[in-house]
Symmetry: D2
């Protein structure tokens, strides 16, 4: 099975490495050259352009956003060049709308399309411990399951329409953003009563909220340690907007989502867009006249 | 040490039982007679009125709300009758404002006052595994620590002003309500895309959000099992309002709190005030035209 | 008809003057002495304490807020001293809850109680052109109508329960606050696109929104002229909170009210509580990273 | 001056008629035939396709939304066929983003582009009394001013970049939607206190809010008369979304806009998308458990 991996960013690079270590026939492409060279040294072949991936059996893409995905998959001519029977696994976080139109465009050409966005940051990806949120035709997923097993600890299935996995991924990120905002508002409240946010968050994440998200992000809120960014605030805003866009199309009010949008915009307007998205927590403190 | 326990509701009764089993000299009072009788059979003495608690060394109160607390502690004449040197431990969830005024009133009479609201539902209380959120003078808390050790698995300290513990308790409940709303909005979003909320919540609470709150409440949202209520929706609204009241006094915007207020009011207006507070989740589904 | 006027603030003083000029037998009281002296020179009699108003036929009160009203009317002993058949006209903006309890307390003593909060600022009061929002028993209002005709251009009737007029007054102020916020957000939006807020507001208030509120407050938003305050921002917050309190009791979500609460708190937290309440508009500009 | 008018909907038809009556050389196009026939009888020439407008000196378009505008102006080939020196006046309410890209596309071809959305409904358009919100190059607007004078009572100028007028139009519609929501929430509040919304709105629109928008829409809220729609609720939602999209790009929180989005979505989800947009008011009543 010849695999082409497109997009060797912070997540894509360790994922591609894992596939290579597992002995797969891998060719890679990235917009910038450096990560390509790294993988070539480890045994991958370099593609000079995305459309050169057309002779792979499976194309995996892990690109930054809707625009990059559309450019690399469609505008490059790759999709038009892929033969019927090929499979494209899109593991990036993209909009439901783009996923829907990509699914249709692939189907029209007889190319398989599976959406498989992931949960987990860089270290989790490097360890092959991602949670993979997959949607698409059963037979396609069955064929690529070995690849998922190489990259993740578990594959979660969410239906046979690819965009369903993207909706789930946006919904999951939405819950993370809500947890940040919720801890921030309540930490500011106890702070206003003379209780150290650290003491409050430690109690909270040792008891009711002993979850990976709360422990990890709660700690960052307490330390006010927002750089370097694990996930940039402006990307968090992007994902909230994609969730709201999906809710628009479903006629679904999401008032927490609306608050998140406004507070993320506030943070970006104050110049914090490139900080880690836990810097969202500074908005609650600043609006209450507190240092944070 | 003679202990008087006032308020034998769903939480107070198992807590008083634990103290009794540990061999404490316990007298009890409750507005209705039945739980008093139960405890008397187990060895407690019955008080005919709250003010009869005035000859105890330690008074523990676990009353429904601000109004009940004020009636039983102040209006009954109990506080006026307590001798200097007595200690009152208020374990109920009350407002920061009432806690502040009670602290002052006790101090004026030379009576110790400790706020010690708890985390945990009935079964946790019965097992003596509560998390106790305590604030008050160090020497007072040192003296009553054995009682806390009998009732809880851990005592968390939040400062020497009693109302600080109440602020923390309201902040903790606020996070629970936020988790319910966050799961509800996102479950409605995936539902609108044809993904079963059950599948989504199971994934979420198995990965990023594997916390007691998310697992417990997420399960109830999925099952839509809201009766009998573990904690009534109208009490959830009450606690959100107390958090907002505290934020008013601190000049702190809490936009998630504002959304919660509005959605809890919506739920109560539709007649769901006596359901479990996870029924808050039905608001997101109903507003999106979904069955829930 | 002997009239006692309690509360000679910015609004009360010109109102009392009008009654005096119309030839009424007027005695006056105020917490500070200066406005009393002014009215005494013009022919009024000074009361040394609120309870001295007990021998008047009609008591009019125009006090700052709930606390002042309760102190002057109830705690002073005035209500207990008023004879059956006397009438108390409360023209201040107070809570629905206090109005309800005052109505009951007056009724229990056989004293008439009419709520008659007003629309209009100082200059309107001085000109006798207030709009009077009245609620209470028909026969009572009929008897005091000549007083209203002296003070206002029109009396609007809103039912026979006094608190109904207070609900209406809070609802009217709510609309003003909403107009300020609405103009502020949209002015910031056009500003972000290089259009001067002045040009936008001028067009708006010359066409669709040619109302007194929009013209007056829109002009202040454009000029950013917030001192001295015509109506202090912290009083605007107080009225929004009273509206929300009334909505709490009615199980009515008011999401615009929730936004107003949060934004007013933001403004107070930044130190703007004593500016005119149109300074609410600075929140929208500041959060968007704009000078305003 | 040969004029081509594209889009003869509820607004376009009376506008085109006025130009014809004023003696202009007018050719017209519309997706459906009937309004074309009406204008041809009155002396206009029919165009069989949008691109046939390419030999006009001035093209005026008044199309339903972004999609229709892009289809008729760009995808039809019209823009590519227009000679340098021609002028296109776009009077529709479209997004800031589309206006920006259209402005660039016209400039690249040497075709003048002026944005001139309008305030006023059908009867105002028929009377030639629209308020025209214009932005674009001064010399272009000077040349077409006689056309604006024929269609409107006043031309308001908002800068030399066409999209500035679109931002202003969206900001104006935003204020109307806010006025509807504000009146709705407050009318529900007084209703909950036994005051007829009719009495409240009548007072409000006779005093503080005696503006065309409040009088007109307030009356519709009171009558609950939402069909036939003067302006459909789903179009109101569309314009709120365009305002939010513009605020996204400007990093500007608009919390009132967020509430409007959620409440409009609620109304559409309940099946009210084709009612007049004042039906937004039913959301406040319904959420509060009131009939409305």
């Amino acid at each position: 099975m010849r695999i082409a991996f497109l997009g060797l960013g912070a997540m894509g690079q360790p994922m591609a490495s894992l596939l290579l270590k597992a002995g797969h026939d891998l060719s890679v492409w990235n917009r910038s050259r450096e990560p390509v060279d790294t993988l070539v040294k480890a045994g991958a072949r370099a593609l000079t352009a995305p459309e050169d991936a057309a002779n792979a059996d499976v194309v995996i893409s892990m690109l930054a956003d809707d625009a990059a995905t559309h450019a690399v998959i469609v505008e490059s001519g790759l999709l038009a060049a892929l033969p019927a029977g090929a499979i494209h696994i899109n593991m990036a976080t993209i909009s439901v709308a783009l996923a829907t139109s990509l699914a249709a465009a692939h189907q029209a050409r007889g190319v398989g399309y599976v959406a498989a966005p992931v949960l987990g940051r860089i270290d989790v990806a490097a360890a092959g411990k991602l949670n993979i949120l997959a949607a698409g035709a059963n037979d396609l997923i069955a064929r690529i399951q070995p690849l998922f097993d190489c990259l993740g600890q578990k594959t979660w299935r969410f239906g046979d329409q690819p965009q369903q996995a993207n909706a789930v991924k946006l919904a999951a990120n939405f819950n993370i953003a809500c947890a940040i905002e919720s801890m921030a508002e309540s930490a500011a409240l106890v702070d206003a009563h003379g209780v150290a946010p650290r003491d409050f968050i430690e109690m909270l994440t040792s008891t009711l909220f002993a979850s990976p998200v709360h422990i990890n992000y709660g700690g960052m809120i307490v330390k006010q340690s927002f750089a370097p960014a694990g996930f940039k605030l402006r990307l968090g805003l992007k994902d909230v907007r994609l969730a709201l866009e999906a809710s628009n199309n479903a006629n679904l009010p999401m008032p927490f989502g609306s608050v998140l949008r406004d507070n993320f915009l506030d943070a970006v307007a104050q110049g914090d867009g490139d900080l880690d998205w836990t810097a969202l927590s500074t908005v609650a403190f600043r609006r209450g006249g507190r240092a944070g």
